[in-house]
């Protein structure tokens, strides 16, 4: 994959860290449901065979030289997509929780509404997806925090199943939260008066491996994201430093 092919070209990006057990199936599912769309796995310096398995399944791989965290990893994909001329990018997590059958719906909503971001949401309509109790509480808390900031409700602010168009891609290539990007990215878009929509999606338990989220990390997550949200509200754009991560 050297350049985007066509004016409406879509790229699916899959950030992955040590997802050897799941990444092959994730890539195969994407290729099955959106056959002509290139799939780019961004490897955040995995210590297992993630890169080899992803390539064997038919994905292109962007291997990072050292661990950047989820935001840095996703932003690398956005930057490459922007440079290669893609019009739309949809992010799918590498652990198999996102259902590739929902990709066409996200793309269709991006195209039909012209909004800058479409979030695959578990809560737009009842579809059997469930979250843990702590995560559920966190989601409700951030819904309340974000409602006045965004000026409209967002039902699933922590969803990583997200599609963006080229306008958002341009912004995210320059400035993107490094650690826990989902919620802060919404505020980044709001600062530019960009629009987002949600479409119902189904999410599954991860295909392999274990989540690294612990109660302590959850608390750190809440504090970190809250701070990030308020910093983004107050942020002075000033003169951008070249290549700044955001």
């Amino acid at each position: 994959m050297n350049r985007a092919s066509g004016a409406d070209a879509l790229l699916v990006i899959v950030p992955a860290l040590n997802e050897e057990g799941a990444i092959g199936e994730v890539v195969r599912q994407i290729r099955q449901h959106v056959p002509d769309v290139p799939v780019l796995v961004i490897d955040d310096c995995s210590e297992d065979g993630t890169i080899g398995v992803a390539r064997a399944a038919g994905a292109d791989v962007l291997p990072l030289a050292h661990h950047l965290g989820l935001g840095g990893c996703v932003q690398a994909g956005y930057k490459l997509a922007y440079e290669l001329g893609f019009e739309y990018v949809i992010r799918v997590d590498g652990d198999g929780q996102h259902d590739a059958r929902d990709i066409p719906a996200i793309l269709e909503r991006l195209k039909s509404t012209g909004c800058e971001m479409v979030i695959g949401s578990r809560f737009v309509e009842e579809n059997g997806s469930s979250t843990g109790m702590v995560r559920g509480l966190g989601i409700r808390f951030f819904r309340m925090v974000l409602r006045p900031i965004l000026g409209k409700p967002v039902r699933d602010p922590t969803s990583g199943f997200v599609g963006v168009n080229r306008r958002a891609l341009e912004v995210f290539a320059r400035s993107f939260p490094l650690e826990y990007p989902e919620i802060e990215a919404l505020v980044v878009l709001q600062r530019r008066r960009f629009r987002f929509e949600e479409v119902p999606v189904k999410m599954h338990p991860r295909l392999a491996g274990r989540s690294t989220i612990t109660p302590r990390k959850s608390l750190y997550y809440i504090v970190h994201v809250l701070l990030g949200v308020f910093v983004n509200i107050l942020k002075y754009d000033g003169r951008p430093r070249p290549g700044r991560g955001g």
Partner: protein, 115 residues
């Protein structure tokens, strides 16, 4: 109370020596050593010149001179730590941008080689 000032003076000399040795061994860059050197020299001068310290104490209304010295020292170090946090944040941003750029260039080289 004078003994506290003597301890501070000794600590300043130790800090000064540490910074100079680190500079000589190239463990710290000159631009990052300047603020440490200035802080150490300021601490040393204040702890050795009681009249100046007493004048600052009277002017600020702090109860006694050693406390004034520690307040000044604490403030200087807080400012320095903040400055270093800013520098570290810049370095982190640069590091992320470089890692992404290298990955993208490697990706494109690989793509061209495969064609």
């Amino acid at each position: 109370m004078d003994s506290l000032l003597h301890v501070t003076a000794v600590l300043s000399v130790v800090l000064l020596a540490m910074v100079l040795i680190s500079l000589r061994r190239a463990h710290i860059r000159v631009e990052y050593s300047v603020s440490w050197l200035l802080a150490a020299v300021a601490m040393l001068l204040l702890s050795l010149s009681r009249p100046v310290l007493d004048a600052i104490t009277r002017w600020t209304g702090v109860p006694d001179s050693p406390l004034t010295l520690f307040l000044i020292t604490g403030t200087v170090f807080l400012v320095m730590f903040f400055r270093f946090s800013v520098i570290i944040s810049h370095l982190r941003d640069d590091n992320v941008a470089l890692t992404q750029r290298v990955a993208m260039l490697e990706y494109r080289v690989r793509s061209f080689e495969q064609e």
